[in-house]
């Protein structure tokens, strides 16, 4: 293992280089831009042989990605925030056409008001599209998740696209040590993409993107649901093979000192690193506090989360998103799918820094179960 200090954006570019896609259509947007730049440089230097398409918008980025994927090759693209929102229509089309595209999303708040900083509203808002979603905690996981995402997406029993989400700036522009795997190991883990269900080839003409009447549409969507549910087994298998080859073990969720915890915080993404530090402090004081980090958000790991939190008396779910008048999405999904009474907290919107004091405040507030979603870190509350 050779650690190199790099940003999560560079780590993702390194992963893409290893996965060796044929086509990379990409459009720059803060804070994703350096992914596009690293990849452009790899191609310019001859380190990658991909066709790099400098598209004129994110809408065309995902459209070209879908065209290329439909031609039967591996593709990569990346975006953020407004870019992902602009892609929205084709995000759904990509899943519906069962194109195993892998895309990185540098999580950033959605306008308005305009913000370039982090929250997860952009990708959360695409949760119903049929894409798999992985929320990485750090640069290493971002890199590894790209490789795992290709492996799972391209599996013939899945054939759904994947979005690897990394918190804008907090990960995209933070450098820390990352292990870049060797090409040989990656080739062992990730076989070349060999499409069978749909590809454009004059030797075997087929029509992709057809028009369905009410006799067929519902079945097509139902098949997607089955494929996404079935992806769970494929993810488990990929994770275990990944651990064997690379020595890093991933799961749908990560349990951190939560097994015997009275109080459990549930969260996604980079904030979990800070929470782990806070959990340790509480444990040092003899308080049974733990963290459950949701890593794979789609397919939603209902049983895994439920098993991890059902024993706790106090549960706090952190959301860097808001479904207005309903609350945080992760919180609502947990309460809807599980027999628990979790408290919901909205944190870190538009890049509001989340400090240990905020986490402590949340831990304190989980002691009184309330149906009201609580916003933590608003300026009116001095922290």
């Amino acid at each position: 293992m050779v650690l190199k200090v790099m940003s999560a954006n560079q780590a993702i570019a390194e992963a893409v280089k290893l996965a060796n896609p044929n086509v990379i259509p990409v459009y720059p947007i803060t804070p994703q831009t350096t992914i596009s730049e690293h990849l452009a440089k790899f191609v310019a230097d001859g380190d990658m042989s991909a066709e790099y398409i400098r598209v004129e918008s994110e809408h065309s980025a995902i459209s070209a990605a879908l065209g290329a994927s439909g031609t039967g090759v591996r593709v990569f693209t990346a975006t953020s925030s407004q870019g992902l929102a602009l892609m929205h229509e084709i995000i759904f089309a990509a899943a519906g056409l069962r194109a195993p595209i892998v895309m990185a999303d540098a999580n950033r708040a959605l306008s308005a008001p305009l913000s370039i900083w982090n929250d997860q509203q952009d990708s959360i808002s695409e949760r119903d599209s049929g894409w798999m979603q992985i929320y990485a905690e750090n640069g290493q996981e971002a890199l590894d998740s790209i490789l795992i995402a290709y492996r799972v997406s391209e599996d013939h029993s899945v054939l759904l696209p994947s979005m690897v989400c990394i918190d804008g700036f907090i990960l995209t522009h933070t450098v820390d040590p990352v292990d870049v795997p060797g090409k040989g190991d990656v080739d062992k883990f990730l076989p070349p993409y060999k499409p069978d269900h749909a590809y454009l080839d004059p030797k075997r003409p087929m029509s992709i993107g057809t028009f369905t009447d009410p006799n067929y549409y519902m079945e097509a969507r139902h098949d997607m649901e089955l494929a996404l549910e079935g992806a769970k087994d494929v993810i488990t298998k990929a994770n275990s093979e990944f651990a064997e080859i690379f020595g890093r073990k991933y799961d749908f969720i990560e349990k951190y000192r939560s097994d015997d915890a009275d109080t459990i915080i549930v969260a996604m993404g980079s904030i979990c690193s800070t929470i782990k530090d806070v959990v340790d402090e509480h444990r040092d004081n003899g308080e049974k506090v733990g963290l459950v980090r949701v890593r794979v958000f789609r397919p939603f790991p209902t049983e895994e989360i439920y098993d991890a939190i059902k024993g706790a008396s106090n549960i706090g779910v952190l959301d860097k998103n808001i479904s207005f008048s309903v609350g945080g999405v992760l919180h609502n999904e947990i309460n809807a799918k599980m027999d628990v009474k979790a408290n919901g907290f909205i944190v870190g919107l538009g890049g509001r820094d989340i400090k240990p004091t905020h986490i402590n405040e949340i831990i304190e507030k989980t002691k009184n179960t309330t149906k009201t979603t609580q916003w933590i870190g608003l300026n009116k509350e001095e922290v």
Binding site: S63, S69, G70, V73, I90, L200, P202, M206, S207
Partner: protein, 288 residues
């Protein structure tokens, strides 16, 4: 001119009787042959040719959305290039709405980037798939469901957007206008487009029985009238050089063309004269 016999668009499609779009596609595909991949924008053509689980297409075909056919084709072309299949032709069929309106940005991007593809706009001068709404390509005076004539309106009050010239401004190697009623001219242009390295754009006028309001057997006659009256001019721009490819021996009166269609029925003689003088001006400029 030898016209290949083989058809690449099967019958049984759901087009209206007398559809001009399918004639255009049939003729184009004959020239392009089997080593071709077609991309469609959402529209009549897409809907009528691919009612799942059937398809009329005998070659590989893909559709994603309304506004992104050129971007999808960019990805397809790049993927084929990455596979070393540079001999495969990529052709796009977009309607006038998908080309001149909602798809203009994606098309501009694809043209400017220089992808090796042929974009054929089959122009029936309105959104026909959804029931004859006005597009940027709807001509002056035409009545559509969103530019209806009425007490205060004579129908569409803006001239047709000049798509071929917008494409010419991209500096691409080949641009042409064509009509389904002049098949040899059209097919020659398709052939030329396929032989040129880089982007090619063909703007194909294609009368629509439903949207224009004439009986189905007149489709070819209407296209012919458009050209013979100078309302639609056949030309090409090859490496920047402009050339009219067909000149009517004697231009017929524009009102012959207008009077044959329900969409212009409401026009007064004054308005028809205004259209005639506009056509005259263009024809004088282009020496038609």
């Amino acid at each position: 001119m030898e016209i290949p016999e083989k058809e690449f668009l099967a019958p049984g499609h759901r087009a209206c009787a007398g559809c001009g779009a399918t004639i255009g596609v049939r003729l184009a595909l004959k020239m392009l042959g089997e080593n071709t991949v077609a991309i469609s924008a959402t529209g009549c053509l897409e809907v009528i040719t691919t009612p799942y689980p059937e398809t009329s297409w005998e070659i590989p075909w893909m559709h994603v959305a309304f506004e992104n056919a050129a971007a999808v084709a960019s990805g397809v072309e790049s993927a084929l290039k990455s596979l070393g299949k540079t001999d495969t032709t990529v052709v796009v069929f977009g309607g006038d709405g998908g080309t001149a309106d909602i798809g203009l940005q994606a098309l501009s991007g694809a043209m400017e980037r220089g992808h090796n593809l042929i974009y054929i706009c089959y122009d029936n001068e309105a959104y026909m798939n959804t029931g004859i709404q006005r597009s940027g390509s709807t001509p002056y005076g035409a009545s559509t469901t969103t530019s209806p004539h009425g007490k205060e309106s004579f129908g569409e009050d803006r001239p047709k957007k000049n798509m071929p010239m917008i494409m010419a401004a991209h500096g691409i190697p080949y641009i042409a206008t064509a009509s389904i009623s002049y098949p040899e001219d059209f097919m020659k242009k398709v052939k030329k487009a396929s032989e040129i390295e880089g982007p090619a754009y063909i703007h194909l006028q294609q009368p629509c029985t439903t949207g224009w309001g004439y009986s189905p057997e007149k489709t070819i006659e209407l296209g012919r009238l458009a050209v013979e009256t100078g309302s639609w001019i056949l030309y090409e721009i090859e490496e920047g050089e402009f050339k009219v490819t067909y000149r009517p021996l004697q231009r017929r009166a524009v009102k012959e063309y207008l009077n044959a269609q329900k969409r212009f029925k409401h026009l007064t003689d004054l308005e028809k004269e205004r259209i005639q003088s506009h056509v005259d001006a263009v024809c004088i400029e282009l020496k038609v």
